[in-house]
Symmetry: C2
Subunit: 635 residues, 2 copies
């Protein structure tokens, strides 16, 4: 256990909950990396669309980035309000459910869930992809690298929410520090050179335009750039992870994340324009990311370049961590409402919602394996989930303000809040529409298939649980009649210690015991009957005790279960109203391989009895331990 505890940490008591909460410093690495890492791929995605228009793109990127930052500001203000309004966690699911009804809440939950799963795969794959483009020698190891990082993030999160915040503090602030330095240095150089800085290392020349600007192109550029906004909802979803005052700490974290992100986006757009940096063809061998070109142009390709690039790669990989913080919380909320199995609501040994973490790791791992660690094609998909959830959450907030009864003097403030959220809903809804239209043929339709599927799954699970609840609800006292002992049927193969032990337990439970032998391989029935007389009948008769019956059934088709079950049904018919306890002797060895050598039959038998049986049949497993003395106390 010691090795396990070294990896996973000591278990935490439920009472230690508060010690696990974080402040804004750890909150940023824990919940903000999805948003911050957007600085690395948002501008890149927008500029890639502009490749076709050549140098004209440089004039377009600045206004488009300005629009995106304005949008970001609106979304920021809306979510700030959401945090105040829902101090117990204002994820899209909660907000939409409470204000728009449970159906729309589930829709938001389904969208967000897909967003989280995709975010993990895409984040890790993008980070590893960036690493590979720096160190091409690692190319054969793309998938293993992705999976190692996934396991690392999973383990850190299983260790508890606080761990994931503190573990990733260093790369987070290194990323912010280096990138900010590059931007400041670049701006200083640009200003000093009156807007025409000379690059230390010149970026590749922009290709000639192959087409003119069009509205469609601008819309696609905008839709791609908007991927930079995903991850903003993470903080309002995770308020409960903050220590008191949670609302305040969550707001500080949100403000910091959005502030830093806006500055980075603005700086990158400005410098791309100033240095004439555009995207390069991702399929070309001369591909170089925007941030790489930018850093090289501003500071050259020295040690600082490599540190910056390393921190970018690390942060892109770790952006997956945001999903690990929020996905399990979302699962928990769904489980509490019976939309997911209840185990998603249980806190693991380190107080994290382990099952959600593990499921997220499995699903995103499956995506990574399925796509061989190259998940470019998934990138368009996850913006849809995020903006769908945004829109529903903002709309929910509008209804929230609308429904709220406020004293007259606060009406103005309320109206302002309502309008702000309405603006948020409208703008994110518009982005959703743009993203959906521009990305539809690139695979966005898959999301429109998966969301209803998840939705249906949630409803089905809840229906099932409610049905179970209804069927198991009980206001009846225990039945004091009919407490005759059960009829015990012992499944036996031959006379051996396991059989003897099982028979003894059976006789303790009831005076009415029947041993059933299914002869499926022409075994020596006579020998069995002789042992039975010698070891069971005679000694019991001598003591004047009730003697168990022995039924031998020949199975011509070498089946075991069918004849046994027929025997049990005969017993049922013979003793109406009595419980039939089927005793299965079981050999238990201490080693893992024992499983392959024994008990396959007993496991199947138990499953078959429970599946085909009825309320009157119960199954008793009587173990016989190999390599142990009888009645020994466990170690």
């Amino acid at each position: 256990m010691s090795f396990y505890e070294t990896i996973m940490g000591k278990p935490l008591a439920s009472s230690e909950e508060t010690s696990q909460k974080v402040g804004p410093l750890a909150g940023i690495p824990m919940l903000g990396l999805d948003a911050l890492s957007s600085a690395a791929y948002g501008p890149e995605a927008a500029l890639t669309v502009l490749l076709a228009v050549g140098s004209v793109g440089l004039h377009v990127i600045v206004p488009i980035t300005a629009i995106i930052i304005a949008l970001l500001a609106i979304v920021y203000c809306s979510y700030r309000q959401t945090i105040t309004a829902y101090p117990d966690g204002g994820g899209s699911y909660t907000v939409a459910k409470e204000n728009l009804g449970s159906k729309l809440g589930l829709l938001a939950a389904a969208a967000l869930m897909l967003d989280y799963i995709l975010n993990v795969s895409v984040g890790i794959a993008a980070g590893v992809g960036a690493l590979i483009s720096m160190l091409p020698g690692l190319h054969p190891y793309i998938l293993p690298l992705c999976l190692v990082i996934l396991v690392l993030i999973t383990v850190v999160n299983l260790r508890g929410i606080r761990e994931s915040g503190t573990a990733f503090i260093f790369p987070t602030y290194l990323f912010v520090g280096t990138l900010t330095s590059v931007i400041i240095l670049g701006i200083v150089k640009t200003v000093l050179s009156h807007g025409h800085p000379i690059a230390v290392e010149a970026p590749p020349a922009l290709p000639a335009a192959t087409m003119g600007l069009s509205l469609w192109l601008l819309l696609r550029c905008f839709a791609n750039g908007c991927t930079a906004m995903t991850g903003v909802e993470a903080i309002s979803n995770g308020i409960t992870a903050f220590k008191a005052p949670a609302v305040r700490h969550a707001q500080i974290t949100l403000t910091s994340v959005i502030g830093i992100l806006s500055l980075l986006l603005a700086g990158i757009a400005f410098l791309c324009h100033a240095y004439g940096i555009g995207a390069t063809d991702p399929d070309s061998s001369l591909y170089q990311s925007i941030l790489s070109q930018l850093t090289a142009a501003v500071s050259g390709r020295g040690w600082f370049y490599y540190i910056t690039m390393a921190s970018v790669i690390a942060i892109v990989c770790l952006s997956a961590n945001t999903s690990f913080a929020d996905f399990p919380r979302l699962c928990r909320l769904l489980a509490l409402d019976y939309y997911l199995p209840s185990s998603f609501a249980a806190r693991g040994r380190r107080l994290a919602y382990s099952e959600g973490i593990i499921i997220l790791a499995i699903l995103s791992g499956a995506l990574l394996i399925g796509f061989g660690g190259i998940t470019d094609r998934l990138i368009p998909l996850f913006a849809i989930g995020a903006f769908g959830a945004f829109t529903l959450s903002q709309t929910g907030m509008v209804v929230h303000w609308f429904k709220q009864v406020t004293p007259a003097k606060e009406r103005g403030k309320k109206l302002a809040s309502l309008l702000l959220n309405a603006l948020g809903a409208l703008s994110t809804g518009l982005v959703l529409l743009v993203v959906m239209v521009t990305k539809f043929s690139e695979g966005a339709w898959i999301i429109l298939v998966l969301i209803p599927a998840l939705f249906w799954l949630f409803l089905g699970i809840r229906r099932h649980y409610l049905q179970v609840e209804q069927q198991t609800h009980c206001e009846l006292p225990v039945d004091t009649h009919g407490s005759e002992p059960p009829i015990v049927v012992v499944a036996m193969r031959r006379w051996c210690t396991t059989t003897r032990n099982a028979l003894q337990v059976a006789m303790q439970m009831s005076p009415e015991v029947i041993a059933a032998h299914i002869n499926k391989d022409n075994e020596d029935q006579e020998k069995l009957q002789q042992s039975w007389i010698r070891y069971v009948e005679e000694p019991l008769k001598a003591q004047g005790k009730p003697v168990p019956g022995l039924i031998c059934v020949v199975s011509p088709y070498r089946r075991f279960f069918d004849p046994l079950f027929q025997t049990i049904q005969q017993v049922e018919a013979e003793y109406p109203g009595r419980t039939i306890a089927v005793v299965i002797p079981e050999l238990v060895g201490g080693r893992w391989y024992d499983y392959f050598l024994h008990n396959k039959l007993t496991t199947l038998l138990k499953a078959a009895l429970l599946l085909h049986g009825d309320q009157r049949i119960v199954v008793v497993n009587v173990p016989w331990y190999l390599n142990r003395k009888p009645a020994q106390q466990p170690g």
Copy 2:
């Protein structure tokens, strides 16, 4: 069940065994395809080595084939004797075990097992490879095609041994018929043209020699050609599959298979020499198999060519069938000697040894998947298994004759038999040595690692079973003392129908019942206790019946099993010598997905109790069926 029965056939009673036996006509497709298909790849493998010496190779292939046919004749005679001496199945394992001791028997078994597994993968992959070279459009589907063929052969074999013989009669005799026709036609043309026939379609010119003949090259050529001999032992291993007189039928089958194979090998070598046909580079796009060149040269590329090629491809694929007939028999023999789990000796519903068939399919399927359906590299490996088994079996036969007490007048015959087997052992042993040396660096060393690993596994399994046998052997009568009822501990979560039902069963089994509640999520303990008083204590007290105790345990680390187990241990300490029956209420739904929504805990709990428990703890599963009326009879 109807669809399943259409695919798998109706179950066969044990008494229908004899109706499942085959004669020589079906015996050849069932057991002879491994040997016959050698005609397709043996000469090919030998000639590929000779590529480097150009046209000189044509002079070498005839004498080398002659040596191989001579060897084949020796092996044939030896195995004919083996069949007579071991009419109940004279596989290498049996012969080696009986004469050389169980260790060497196991060595033969391990070698043969690997041979069989490799033969399946290599046979199917080679057949699909040949198909692809005719229809390159199928290239993307190599692996699916391999797996479909594997599943087909598996299903046919699961349907019973007779099915696999009759199902493959047509392709087998088509192969023999077409190839014999090609050879006869070719010989006639050669004779008529005084040894210089004119090819209808000229084979590709032989490449210029890049090196001279060397002993090493000749040895490698010989070793490759010897792969044509694998599969000869199959028939002596499968004697029990033949109908009476089994020995006679097996011998007729062996004679036919070896006779046909020798004629084919001789004819192919003769015609290669006459038409100047050599191997082509397998990696080149101009690659064409020897049989394809030969058929085209003799008969042109008309419909007959395509029928011949199709039958060759089919037979190469179906050569896997021999393994499916013999591998399960070998597993059965090992299982009867406790070297494998006993389920390998059980006949399935169609009287085939289903478990061996399924394991073979899984292992060879894994090889196919692992190598992506391209298993060229495995070809050198499986000759080692085959020749290892040959040598051990022949050596065993020598000892067999040596040990036999014979009347004086038959001594001469016995000596002849002994010498024949000794010659067989010597020559196959030499071949083994040559194959091992020439193939060592090509991967043959893997076999030398795997054989000891299997050997060790067999011994470990047997040791385990003997230990179990010893520990469960029982000559004690049932214990008539201490038959006090068990102490029943009911694991309960809350008061519901499942709990109520479980409690009632518990009370039927014993007057001493304790309910244990593990509070791991701050549940409302007071509410539980109130229900307990209302629904259990009060009604039972009113009737003057014994009232079960209720133990509530708070679990600070949200664990369920540890506190429950501690409670059980306390009960054990309190009631020394008594059986503790732990009752686990279980929800059983009728649908597959119910498994994911419930019972994970109960399954784990049962496993944990059996693993950590002791001889005094038994586990009682009390099912509660959803969507069913209580005490309903099963449908």
